[in-house]
């Protein structure tokens, strides 16, 4: 009966009600969104590399190296010469190595040159190997293997010819249009930046840059694809490489050896340590965001309290009627609290709906632009805990009008005027 009264009384004030619900929905959406994206980002970053012991690149911050080599965010400061790579990869403690060559793109998606060891050793998530939906690893110089999303979004099929662009812009003006690539494989979805990447052989990267100097085509030196194949296509540089070691125990030793490498200034990082540094950097930011969204929520709950408090003035007669039919002051108290909780619950429902829609519609942008894979699945224990906290806060905030109503119904009695 009480729920019915609370419900109908709220519906009786549709305009103020909908504004209050809206303000709560927006603030809950903010809080939930920050929490969700934070959690998902960590998970998505965490699952991107697994089983890689060291990542080696030119000297930079370890975070920068991690970001450009694994997440394809940002750019390398310098390259590693091929002989250096070969020497370091030949270290007896190294089980396998994957060279990476970055810097080209195709319609906004990054192109990565690598060796076929990539398909043999690279692992993601819980140590899963890459699998193919269709096709097989590249063999020829002008073969390309597409990440799942690339194939999906651009509707590419096996055998299709595509042209790579120099640089990373979505509308690059310098295209390697004289040397088209043929799609030979499409990878299974991984939920990592692999899905957003086109994979070619190092020789392929070398071939399309023949006749280029300092990043621009040199007129008169253009070569056709056939001519390019006649050239020495051994790579001269790589951007970075990943190492798997025979024994984890040797990790720090190998890292030290690479850091002390005489021929070139290089650095080796442990992906886990670099990620931890990233989280540490983000921790302050996360807390700040969380604090801001919590404050926004409190502000909107205060707004709700104000709305209920303001309505009490016109509801004195209503309260007198309830008291007359035998409702105790506690019933009045409960009624106000119930109204507040109904408002907050409606806010939560709308917030979930809004956030879900926002996530579903921004998933692509987040994954393409930021390498973030955020699922739209909002159901988790944490979410429910958050709901409990929100409803608890609502209860506390509604104490102001509820206690006021309780006291006035006790003292003002059956009087219908104040």
């Amino acid at each position: 009966m009480l729920i019915k009264i609370a419900f109908k009384s709220l519906l009786n004030r549709k305009v103020t009600l909908s504004l209050t619900v809206l303000s709560i929905a927006v603030s809950v959406m903010l809080l939930l969104g920050v929490e969700h994206v934070r959690k998902e980002a960590k998970e998505s970053f965490g699952r991107t590399v697994s089983g890689v012991d060291l990542i080696v690149g030119a000297r930079t911050s370890q975070l920068n190296l991690l970001l450009y080599s694994v997440f394809h965010i940002g750019n390398a400061t310098n390259n590693i010469s091929w002989p250096s790579y070969q020497r370091l990869a030949a270290n007896p403690k190294v089980a396998w190595s994957i060279p990476l060559s970055l810097g080209d793109s195709h319609r906004g998606y990054r192109v990565m040159g690598t060796s076929d060891d990539y398909f043999k050793y690279f692992r993601y998530g819980s140590k899963q190997l890459l699998g193919f939906v269709k096709g097989k690893p590249f063999e020829g110089v002008f073969d390309v293997v597409l990440g799942y999303e690339v194939a999906q979004q651009l509707r590419y099929q096996l055998g299709q010819k595509i042209v790579l662009a120099h640089g990373l812009g979505k509308s690059s003006f310098t295209k390697h249009d004289d040397k088209p690539f043929r799609v030979v494989g499409i990878l299974k979805p991984t939920g990592t930046p692999v899905d957003q990447t086109l994979h070619v052989s190092l020789a392929g990267i070398e071939a399309i840059h023949l006749g280029w100097q300092n990043g621009v085509k040199t007129p008169g030196l253009e070569l056709s694809a056939e001519q390019a194949l006649q050239h020495d296509l051994r790579p001269k540089t790589v951007t970075a490489f990943m190492l798997g070691l025979k024994s984890k125990m040797a990790t720090f030793q190998v890292q030290r050896e690479i850091n002390k490498f005489k021929k070139e200034p290089l650095m080796a990082i442990l992906p886990g340590v670099a990620l931890a540094e990233l989280w540490q950097m983000m921790a302050g930011m996360e807390k700040l965001l969380l604090l801001i969204s919590a404050l926004v929520l409190i502000a909107s709950l205060l707004g709700m309290s104000t709305m209920l408090l303001a309505s009490m003035r016109e509801r004195i007669a209503e309260m007198a009627v309830l008291r007359a039919v035998g409702a105790s002051p506690w019933v009045i108290f409960l009624l106000i609290e119930l109204e507040a909780l109904l408002i907050a619950s409606a806010g939560i429902v709308f917030a979930m709906l809004g956030l879900w829609i926002a996530l579903v519609s921004s998933q692509d942008i987040l994954s393409v632009r930021f390498g973030l894979f955020v699922s739209a699945n909002l159901w988790s224990i944490e979410t429910f805990n958050l709901f409990a906290v929100i409803l608890g806060a609502t209860f506390m905030m509604a104490l102001i009008p509820a206690v006021g109503a309780y006291r006035s119904s006790l003292h003002v009695g059956l009087s219908q005027r104040k």
Binding site: M1, S9, V325, A327, Q416
Partner: protein, 239 residues
């Protein structure tokens, strides 16, 4: 529940009742040395506004507690009950009709009446019959039941208020200026229905008004200023 039976014959038995005592001025709002109303009696309490009528109503219905003295209703000493027990007693044994605002405006008429039944813990099996009988007697069309309370005319609302007050068959019916918003002929009709219904229900009726013309048909007429000895003690009453 504490049963402190003083006199079962009286619907209302008030002794040495004091309320609104203010230590600063040494004044009291209401002081009733003795007032008894027999069960089934229909009493018209008359008094100008500001003589403590609404205070008396709040005390009679157990919403307010007296500072001193006793109020016994139907043999039950109200002053010995806790707030919650008084609320329950009111729900079961007292029907109240206000001046104007009697119904929750956003609930249906039916829900309004059921609300009283709910708090009075009335058995729900005969409730439909009971409500429809009350409506018949109060000359209200049954179709009003499904309408929102604020869609009814004031006259209809006041009659629904009687139905609401009587749904738990209370022993005591307390009515406060119920006709102030009605025109003469409507208020005439209302008074007839009220008296007839309270008699049918064997309820003791306490009717409070400043309008002496409505007193026709009552068993007893009480002048509140005569009853309230505060004034005679020489202290000004402020309501």
């Amino acid at each position: 529940m504490v049963q402190s039976v003083i006199n079962n014959e009286y619907a209302i038995d008030i002794a040495e009742l004091r309320y609104g005592y203010s230590g600063k001025t040494g004044s009291t709002l209401l002081y009733l040395p003795k007032w008894q109303v027999a069960q089934g009696e229909q009493v018209f309490v008359e008094g100008p506004s500001g003589c403590g009528k609404s205070t008396l109503l709040n005390l009679l219905t157990g919403v307010l507690s007296p500072d001193a003295g006793q109020i016994c209703l139907l043999g039950q000493n109200l002053t010995s009950l806790k707030t919650r027990q008084r609320d329950r007693f009111r729900a079961r044994h007292i029907g109240i009709v206000f001046q104007q605002f009697n119904l929750m405006p956003y609930l249906s008429v039916d829900d309004n009446i059921r609300l009283a039944a709910h708090f009075g813990s009335a058995p729900s099996e005969f409730l439909d019959d009971k409500i429809s009988t009350l409506f018949k007697h109060l000359q209200l069309p049954q179709r009003l039941l499904q309408q929102r309370a604020d869609q009814l005319s004031v006259g209809q609302q006041q009659r629904v208020a009687i139905a609401r007050a009587l749904v738990n068959s209370p022993e005591l019916l307390v009515v406060d200026e119920p006709t102030s918003a009605l025109d003469d002929s409507a208020s005439q009709a209302f008074m007839e229905l009220l008296l007839a219904q309270s008699r049918d229900n064997n309820s003791t009726l306490i009717f409070v008004s400043h309008d002496k013309r409505l007193a026709h048909g009552f068993d007893q007429l009480v002048n509140l200023p005569d009853l309230n000895k505060v004034v005679s003690e020489g202290v000004l009453d402020a309501d």
